[in-house]
């Protein structure tokens, strides 16, 4: 019912402000100005799917990066990203302009990832190694690095992916947001709806586990090489 009303609004003639925004922000352009983003959010909340498209373009890489790091494979990351944007559209009316949009977006992304992981746990699906599911993926290091360094990078990537996959959900989310997305501890706490102390404790525990796992795997690899 609500969505129908929103689409109807979209059919109305564009206002002067919307026209101005169209000129200022051509399709595929990244939104650098916070005011422009706020306007886009306002328009998208009113049912403007073109404005929502631009919000998606602006935030798709961040969303995809978090879902990929949290879920560990491309297929799930794509599905999760799609679900994230659907939820964003659904709850955009609840977004307050005084909120940080990306913190809000990360919150939704983490919730979607939690649902996906629960679903996966219910299906008892195994963790898909990165190398098995690389359709549509372009590895950044492929152009300018020699074969040995590529192999090393892939191995390191898999090592970290497996270490992260072993972490409990909250620790995983904290480490992804803090170490990989570069959020501050306070920002992570806001996204996770937790205290900074708790987040710090989760990050500490996650780093300990990652270090132990990496050391174990490297030691094992060294022993196998020695044989």
């Amino acid at each position: 019912m609500k969505l129908r009303r929103r689409i109807t609004l979209r059919a109305e003639p564009a206002s002067d402000m919307a026209l101005a925004l169209d000129i200022a922000l051509p399709v595929n352009a990244l939104i650098s100005d916070q005011t422009s983003l706020a306007l886009l959010i306002e328009r998208a909340a009113a049912g403007d799917t073109a404005a929502f498209e631009r919000i998606m373009i602006h935030s798709q890489q961040r969303v995809m990066a978090v879902t990929w790091r949290m879920l560990g494979n491309d297929a799930d990351a794509r599905d999760a990203s799609q679900e994230v944007f659907l939820r964003v559209y659904k709850y955009l009316k609840r977004f307050r302009q005084d909120q940080d949009f990306f913190a809000w977006l990360y919150g939704i992304t983490i919730n979607v990832c939690r649902d996906f992981l629960k679903q996966r746990q219910a299906q008892r699906s195994r963790f898909v190694p990165l190398s098995e599911d690389a359709e549509g993926v372009i590895f950044a290091a492929a152009d300018d690095a020699d074969a040995e360094s590529i192999v090393l990078q892939v191995q390191q990537r898999e090592l970290i992916a497996r270490a992260i996959a072993l972490l409990p959900f909250k620790e995983r989310a904290s480490i992804v947001l803090r170490d990989m997305e570069g959020c501050s501890t306070e920002e992570v706490a806001r996204v996770m709806k937790s205290s900074a102390t708790t987040v710090r404790s989760q990050i500490s525990s996650a780093r300990k586990k990652i270090r132990i796992y990496c050391q174990q795997q490297l030691r094992r690899a060294g022993q196998e090489k020695a044989r």
Binding site: L3, I57, L86, V137, I138, Q156, I160, I164, I175, D179
Partner: protein, 231 residues
């Protein structure tokens, strides 16, 4: 600060998450302790690896596909009929009105039927149990004409006032006959009915409180057609 305390702080120290004062204390300890310095290096390496754990570069086609699916989903959801729309469309259709009219007619017919049959209630037995009635009375009621089954002395004051309603009377007569048949069938099954020699009295209270049918049966006329009086 000892090694155990330092080790606890190393994960946060490696990620530069410690406050300046505590970080300085840890740095001082690491300068003097080789074991802790080695562990700190391991933490630094794993933190660097974690920070470098970047997702692969997805092609624009992947993102475009996601956006397209999202837009399609939004449009589908917008076009999907809601409950309120379904109910509203149901009420708009002519079929709904036809169904409603038919239901109304059926309900009205049932109501009329029940109103018409309300007075035609079978009379109840009162005072006397059916065991006191002798068998054979049903033969008379069955063989005789319908009017002769009603005794002459029956108090039918209420019926006299409604003689015009012949149809209703006929129905009452039929119900009385049916009741008599039932009473006699029960009496025939009872062993007491054949052994007693006293005058038997049967009272029937109809629904109308003014009408009560009382039957007397003589034991001498057991073999013949029973002569009875209605009071």
């Amino acid at each position: 600060m000892n090694c155990k305390q330092t080790e606890e702080l190393l994960p946060l120290y490696a990620g530069r998450d410690l406050e300046e004062e505590r970080a300085t204390v840890v740095t001082e300890h690491l300068q003097t302790c080789a074991a802790c310095a080695r562990v700190a290096n391991e933490y630094r390496e794993s933190v660097v690896l974690t920070e470098q754990f970047a997702p692969p570069v997805f092609s624009e086609a992947v993102y475009a596909g996601i956006r397209q699916r999202v837009q399609r989903e939004i449009e589908t959801e917008a076009l999907a009929p809601t409950w309120s729309h379904t109910i509203a469309s149901l009420f708009r259709s002519r079929l709904a009105w036809a169904i409603a009219s038919m239901l109304l007619i059926v309900v009205s017919m049932f109501a009329i039927y029940f109103m018409m049959n309300r007075g035609n209630v079978e009379p109840q037995l009162a005072n006397q149990p059916p065991a006191n009635v002798q068998p054979g009375t049903n033969e008379r009621s069955k063989s005789g004409p319908p009017d002769s089954s009603v005794p002459a002395g029956v108090n039918t004051g209420g019926d006299k006032q409604h003689l015009a309603r012949g149809r209703q009377l006929q129905r009452r007569k039929r119900s009385r006959e049916a009741l008599a048949d039932r009473v006699n069938t029960v009496a025939a099954k009872s062993p007491e009915a054949t052994s007693t020699s006293k005058t038997l009295r049967l009272e029937i209270q109809t629904k109308d409180p003014k009408i009560r049918i009382i039957w007397f049966v003589e034991p001498e006329t057991k073999s013949a057609i029973p002569s009875s009086k209605g009071i």
